[in-house]
């Protein structure tokens, strides 16, 4: 590797006294090289932790879930009946519950979140923005258990009073989850909107567009990838939410008759059963974990694909 011949010897053909402080260029020393290499390997190892963890999570939950294939059977696993004490491990009703709860939360939360973000970035005065957007930021950090608690003590009784039922069910979960995902969607949408160059807004105004025209013809289309990102991440948050849902859905693993009758979701059922499940039951819970993991990994994949398209 070291090839001293590549450097011509200055003493041999150094011309006419100009070589005041001529010295050879040093070659990379072995010690330095090894040290820098070593550090780089260490950093690399750290960077790989994330990859290894993700693989481990998948592998571990998958291994624990393996008997689902052999002993329960895929068909049964995706069946409708969840009754672990009676040996039925169908997750369709739970998955449907997760889906319903998530969709409703999005229907309520997305307009609110995007509307808030648009208001704060495009319409509000400096002063309002200065107060409200940090507040929304902070609220994004409120833990889900608090939202669940609030849902349990305020929203559920309220829904119960209005509907005449117990107040457990999809409707309550929609409210709770919508409130939860609004800060997420708002902050991410605001990021997307802020990253749009001021220039195209100015151009639109200069063309004689009103504020609303500028927002929906220029700003929102330009930010569409970022906004879809925000929605998908909000969706991920809603699907994965456990405690808040557990506290308000009523945990009946059935296809409900109405939005105010109890339902159950994948996450809440895992949390509910995890403490005592054994044998096949436990296996089924891990398999539900795998399903959730795959869903969230695909959502992330989708977002990444989208932002790649957005960059292009």
């Amino acid at each position: 590797m070291d090839e001293p011949d590549a450097v011509t010897d200055p003493t041999e053909d150094g011309p006419n006294g100009l070589d005041r402080d001529r010295r050879r260029l040093a070659l990379v020393s072995h010690g330095t090289y090894m040290k820098e290499r070593g550090l780089q390997c260490l950093f690399f190892a750290c960077a790989l932790v994330a990859v290894i963890t993700v693989v481990l999570i998948f592998a571990f939950t998958m291994i624990e879930a393996a008997p689902v294939f052999s002993d329960i059977g895929i068909g049964e696993f995706f069946g409708l009946r969840w009754a672990p004490t009676e040996g039925s491990f169908g997750i369709a009703a739970l998955a449907a519950g997760s889906g319903v709860v998530t969709l409703g939360a999005l229907v309520l939360g997305v307009p609110l979140g995007i509307g808030t973000a648009v208001y704060l970035t495009e319409i509000a005065t400096e002063r309002v923005r200065g107060i409200v957007s940090p507040a929304v930021d902070l609220l994004a950090g409120i833990p889900s258990i608090i939202y669940g608690f609030f849902g349990m003590v305020i929203i559920r009784p309220f829904v119960a009073a209005v509907s005449g039922g117990l107040g457990f069910g999809a409707l309550t979960a929609w409210f709770v989850l919508a409130i939860m995902i609004v800060p997420t969607i708002t902050t991410l949408t605001m990021d997307a909107l802020r990253s749009i160059p001021m220039g195209i807004r100015e151009a639109s105004f200069a063309m004689g567009a009103t504020k609303w025209q500028t927002i929906y013809k220029v700003v929102l289309p330009a930010a569409r990838f970022g906004i879809v990102d925000a929605i998908v991440l909000g969706m991920g948050r809603a699907i994965g939410e456990t405690m808040a849902v557990l506290m308000v859905v009523g945990n009946a693993p059935v296809i409900p008759g109405s939005v105010t009758s109890p339902i159950s979701t994948l996450t809440s059922q895992i949390a509910l059963d995890m403490s005592y499940a054994s044998g096949l039951h436990r296996t089924a819970l891990f398999a539900m974990g795998v399903v959730l993991f795959v869903i969230s990994a695909s959502l992330v994949g989708f977002v990444r694909l989208l932002s790649k398209m957005g960059r292009r």
Binding site: A203, S204, A222
Partner: protein
């Protein structure tokens, strides 16, 4: 306070400015601007950085309304009516006074949609009318030849110079009477600069054009009239120092400060 050398008189004015003052919240940015901007000719604003050229330009289509806390005094008349009068809709005003910015800023849409944007705002929905407008505007902006076969392409995929001409086409599509250009050539390559300058010369006979430029040669080359702005003391408002026919300003400036600036003694 300002010096005038064969400057346009009121009868030639597309825009007449009287005792104009401008504030960004607390900061008094411009003071005592009096000038007539000649109809259907090219007027150049020159001056060192920060002297309020852009600020003043943006007063003409009330873009500064979008900045919180700005405030004007004095009159600015477009074809005889005060644009700052109560009840004047800045949105309508901006349709009549188009603007081109330093950074080409096409919308992230297709070339076609970029040009159709303004007409659509004004309610044009018929496809054939839109097609017409798009084609005519691109032709006037000397861009048609280059893009006619790819109108569906994203405006951002064009080169910088093409983008700038696309922005001009976009403005032409709404038929403004006045075209404001804020350093339209400073971010594009020399060949494109040539094209944009040619285009301005073509447009000028039917359009009042105001251009801010840092490039003295460019001002000298293309403009009929030149206005020199200066903020003498940092923190104090800038004002119009000298205004008149471009030839006179460049060959025999009457104000010492104009001369210093033009000969490159500062700025």
């Amino acid at each position: 306070m300002s010096t005038y050398q064969s400057a346009p008189d009121a009868s030639m004015a597309a825009i007449a400015i009287r005792d104009f003052e401008f504030w960004y919240s607390e900061f008094h940015a411009l003071t005592e601007v009096n000038m007539n901007i000649a109809k259907d000719s090219i007027t150049a604003f020159i001056g060192p950085s920060g002297c309020g050229k852009s600020t003043f330009l943006r007063c003409v289509n009330r873009m500064n309304d979008l900045i919180e806390g700005t405030h004007v005094e004095g009159r600015m008349e477009l074809d005889g009516s005060d644009i700052y009068a109560e009840g004047v809709d800045p949105v309508d005003l901006r349709r009549r006074v188009g603007m081109i910015f330093q950074q080409p800023n096409p919308f992230p849409k297709s070339i076609y949609e970029n040009v159709a944007f303004g007409p659509r705002l004004q309610g044009v929905t018929k496809k054939s009318d839109l097609d017409d407008i798009v084609e005519e505007s691109l032709k006037r902006a000397n861009l048609w030849k280059e893009v006619s076969s790819q109108l569906g392409k994203d405006g951002l995929a064009l080169s910088g110079g093409q983008q700038q001409r696309l922005c001009i086409a976009r403005v032409l599509a709404v038929q403004p009477d006045v075209l404001l250009m804020d350093e339209p050539c400073s971010a594009i390559d020399p060949t494109s600069v040539q094209k944009v300058e040619d285009l301005m010369a073509e447009l000028a006979p039917q359009m009042t054009i105001v251009i801010v430029t840092h490039n003295m040669q460019q001002a000298a080359r293309i403009s009929d009239y030149t206005a020199f702005f200066l903020q003498e003391v940092a923190g104090e408002p800038a004002t119009l120092i000298e205004y008149g026919q471009t030839d006179s300003i460049f060959t025999s400036p009457m104000d010492q400060r104009t001369e210093d600036y033009i000969t490159g003694r500062f700025g």
